[in-house]
């Protein structure tokens, strides 16, 4: 069974978040058509952290 925690490069898929992704250096960045930028990383202890920002 695959859960959201199993795949660190998983896209978490809101309706407007399917833009291009950058998988370099363990970081996944999703740029969206409405200016939302979602960047997924891993903390040193393996926990997931996701940053949300507005592209300017």
């Amino acid at each position: 069974m695959t859960t959201p925690d199993d795949d660190p490069t998983r896209g978490s898929g809101s309706p407007d978040s399917d833009g291009p992704r950058d998988h370099s250096a363990g970081t996944t960045t999703r740029a969206t058509t409405v200016g939302l930028v979602v960047t997924e990383e891993r903390l040193a202890d393996g926990r997931r952290i996701t940053y949300y920002g507005i592209s300017r």
Binding site: M1, T3, P4, D5, R10, S12, G13, S14, P15, D16, S17, V34, L36, V38, L43, A44, R47, R48, I49, T50, Y51, Y52, G53, I54
Partner: protein, 332 residues
């Protein structure tokens, strides 16, 4: 210990997470674990120097995707199971001294997108039945970290209060053929208890308010979850929520403490409690304040009877809060 035990006398599960006894407790601002990690400063939970909204797995979770085996064996009467689920921390800003009321409408709009994104991700876990974003704000409600933040819990079943809502919605639909929340929106729109009227959302003191200055924010449309909201509805939710929170601070003249929860359609489970068509997206905001320097506590009737007693009539609270929200300057 991280396990759930079933209470057969109340037909509900109780979670035990004894690891949380060791969680960070009211640290000084200089040692805040939710501040960004700044050059020369202490390493915090968030390795970046600047951020807008950050969401990460709780270091001291009540529910986890890798729970240990329970400490005790369950019985037929009291089953015990590992406490599976997700607990995430949602940090609204890198400014330690800000509040959700002060960060501005644009940041709340970004937060709505973050809620939607995380909701969709957690709902995709087939073992999850209910996703609950919430914010505990202020010492009056027991907050242990003052940096502005909320949380998201994802449960393996529908928790008792949303389950009760689902049963009430089913009963109303069986009787009328309609959604109970849609009927509430129709009744309350334009009425004396309204606080903020948005195009997609309506904020008001519910006629049955359990807290003297409770405000619920209902989706006008029969929408079950935040990910289902389009951009215009998300814009409106941000505007309404920003004005409600700024209005609270203006009315009470303090940084208002409150509990804020987002009720959504279930995403799993079984039976009528899990019927996603019954769910109607709404926020409940419950400040413990009942007047200047006075707090409402959950006492005997509320705790043992489950029967709330409220000191202020919603028809009095509504106009007071509406006037405060109308006059307040809301940060952009």
């Amino acid at each position: 210990m991280s396990e759930r035990r079933y209470d057969p006398t109340h037909d509900e599960w109780v979670t035990f997470a004894t690891n949380r006894q060791d969680r960070t407790y009211k640290p000084p601002a200089a040692a805040c674990p939710l501040c960004p990690t700044r050059p020369g400063g202490p390493e915090t939970e968030i390795p970046r120097e600047h951020f807008e909204v950050a969401v990460f797995d709780n270091r001291f979770p009540s529910l986890t995707t890798t729970p240990p085996e329970p400490d005790i064996a369950g019985t037929d009467l009291v089953p015990v199971e590992p406490a599976y689920g997700h607990c995430e921390v949602v940090v609204f800003t890198d400014d330690h001294d800000a509040t959700l009321a002060s960060v501005g409408t644009q940041r709340i709009r970004l937060l709505v997108d973050a809620w939607a994104d995380r909701f969709a991700a957690l709902a995709a876990d087939p073992r999850i039945a209910y996703v609950l974003p919430f914010e505990n704000k202020g010492e009056a409600v027991g907050v242990t970290l003052h940096h502005p933040h909320g949380q998201i819990y994802a449960y393996p079943d529908v928790p008792p209060r949303p389950a009760r809502e689902q049963r009430a919605a089913a009963k109303h639909r069986d009787r009328t053929g309609r959604c109970v929340f849609c009927d509430v929106v129709a009744q309350e729109t334009g009425g004396p208890r309204v606080v903020v009227e948005g195009t997609h959302f309506l904020a008001g003191v519910p006629p049955w308010a359990r807290f003297p200055y409770e405000i619920d924010i209902w989706s006008r449309a029969h929408v079950g979850t935040i990910p289902e909201l389009d951009a215009a509805a998300r814009d409106d939710l941000a505007r309404v929520l920003a004005r409600v929170l700024a209005g609270y601070d203006a009315f009470f003249g303090i940084r208002t403490s409150y509990l804020l929860g987002i009720h959504s359609a279930p995403v799993g489970g079984s039976g009528p409690e899990a019927d996603p068509t019954l769910g109607h997206l709404h926020l409940e905001i419950c400040p413990p304040h009942r007047g200047e320097g006075k707090l409402k506590y959950l006492a005997g009737s509320e705790t043992f009877g489950g029967a709330f007693l409220t000191d202020v009539a919603p028809e009095v609270a509504g106009p007071r809060l509406r006037a405060a929200a109308a006059d307040v300057e809301v940060p952009a």
